[in-house]
């Protein structure tokens, strides 16, 4: 049994390495092509570029999180449905609410305080609530959601779907300018949205299978919204415009680096949490924690 578990862990680590290498390869290829060819996209090719650049990191990260549910992997179709639902909610509600109703571009950056508070209260809560809704009102009540760790798997799928739509929107709005830098932003943003949604998913999983107080999941959404807001603040305040020519090189990358560190740290904690949950003797693939 112990040997089998060890073999399984080794295969996951190998697969993770392949995922990371595939991401690095993807970023390097796009970076190189953009630098060498400096392509100008408009119309349909621009949309297609946005879709490809957004989907590739999303699919790789999806595999990264999906592999963690090794005891009873979720049906791929169901995961894909939640991924799609996350994207649809972003397009139908998330982006219009932030861009039109709250028009965050017009006021968020007027001061540091409004930037950080607005990023958490408006951007963070809107996005994390929608990812929560994508899981809570679809797969949460189904028989497939049969162990706590499923919350993380489905929520990260919703988060990646949400991020994919944001990234397509980002490429189109920026007119495909400077994709070399854009592809790094897209990759980090995908990981960030997946990991923050994973936090919501952890709380959802606990809500379903353990006895938690009524405010439990709300506190999870609040925590994810705070992480999301801090990420948003770091990326936009210190990045100095990923697609602009302004700012010194060091300043330009500092925010990105900090935001990437935050997303990686949350992913690392999530991975540890999943591993721990898998080893819990009372948590079976059949569902409820044995009291």
């Amino acid at each position: 049994m112990e040997k089998k578990r060890s073999q399984h862990l080794t295969s996951i680590v190998q697969a993770d390495l392949v995922s990371i290498l595939a991401l690095v390869f993807f970023v390097v290829v796009v970076y190189g092509l953009d630098t060498l060819l400096n392509p100008q996209f408009t119309g349909f090719p621009l949309v297609l570029t946005g879709v490809v650049l957004s989907l590739v990191p999303a699919v790789i990260w999806l595999g990264f999180f999906y592999r963690r549910d090794r005891l009873e992997p979720e049906p791929k179709g169901m995961v894909l449905q939640v991924f799609t639902l996350g994207g649809l909610l972003a397009a139908a509600i998330g982006i219009p609410v932030l861009d039109n109703l709250f028009a965050v571009d017009g006021w968020l950056t007027r001061s540091t305080l409004s930037h950080i508070l607005g990023a958490i209260l408006v951007v963070g809560f809107t996005q994390e609530f929608l990812k929560y809704a994508a899981v809570r009102f679809s797969v949460f009540s189904s028989g497939e959601f049969d162990e706590p760790v499923d919350g993380i798997v489905y929520a990260t799928a919703a988060g990646l779907g949400y991020a994919a739509l944001l990234n397509v929107n980002f490429v189109i709005e920026s007119g495909g300018v400077d994709l070399a830098v854009g592809v790094i932003r897209i990759t980090v943003t995908s990981l960030a949205h997946a990991s923050f949604a994973g936090v919501v998913g952890y709380f959802l999983g606990q809500e379903k299978f353990t006895n938690r107080p009524a405010w439990w999941t709300a506190s999870g959404v609040a925590l994810a919204a705070t992480l999301n807001g801090v990420f948003f603040f770091l990326r936009s305040t210190l990045t100095q415009g990923a697609l602009s020519t302004s700012g010194s090189g060091v300043q330009r990358w500092l925010g990105f680096a900090l935001a990437a560190v935050l997303a990686t740290a949350v992913t690392w904690v999530l991975s540890g949490t999943i591993r721990k949950q898998m080893q819990l003797p009372g948590t079976t693939a059949g569902g409820m924690e044995e009291a």
């Binding site: 028009a103 571009d105 017009g106 001061s111 809570r136 809500e207 999941t217 990045t239 415009g241 302004s246």
Partner: protein, 196 residues
């Protein structure tokens, strides 16, 4: 644990999530109202504007402007003391009612190209901002005027509006991300006009 207990527990969890989100968004709405409404009216040389509270206003005759792209007709510069590399410039140029905004932009671009280092016009196009027809010029230049620091790339946007016998030019210049500053600037530019 019964299914009924689980369902009722999940319902209360869901209610709490909805309540937390609603409260956060309401506070966010209040924050937005406070930030967007937190301006002070300014009228200088016949040009009125709603400047964000706390911003420093400098006039050509009273302050050390130190703006690389200072051009003729400058009425005032407004800058955020927390972000000194972002500034709004408001200029007023005499014009006849049939003055072509495109020609005015060409003259100013030419003047800047002579005065500034590596001045580039990135895009210029007729626009409509909050129902006002005008002309927008996106540009960039290098500020190498200070000997004790490395040259800084500034990006900027001009909005040109014809107002009676004047052309109002509202300019954003920033060394930070122009995408981040543009929304707030457009709200500011939409309010600038002639009058008390």
């Amino acid at each position: 644990m019964t299914v009924q207990t689980m369902t009722s527990r999940s319902s209360s969890q869901t209610l709490y999530v909805f309540a937390a989100t609603a409260i956060a968004l309401l506070i966010g709405w209040g924050l937005m109202s406070y930030v967007t409404g937190n301006t002070r009216p300014v009228t200088l040389d016949g040009v009125s504007a709603a400047v964000p509270s706390g911003w420093v206003i400098e006039q050509p005759t009273t302050g050390p402007l130190n703006t690389g792209s200072e051009v003729a007709g400058l009425v005032f510069t407004a800058r955020d003391p927390l972000d000194p590399e972002t500034r709004y410039l408001v200029s007023s140029l005499p014009a006849s009612p049939d003055t072509d905004l495109g020609a005015t932009t060409a003259i100013r671009n030419l003047q800047r190209a002579q005065d500034l280092t590596a001045y580039r016009v990135l895009e210029q196009t007729p626009v409509s901002l909050s129902g006002r027809d005008g002309y927008r010029v996106s540009f960039a230049y290098v500020d190498a005027s200070q000997a004790d620091r490395v040259p800084v790339v500034y990006e900027g946007v001009d909005y040109y509006f014809a107002e009676g016998d004047h052309t109002i030019v509202v300019t954003l210049e920033t060394a930070r991300s122009i995408e981040d500053a543009l929304g707030a600037f457009q709200a500011f530019a939409a309010e600038v006009g002639l009058g008390e």
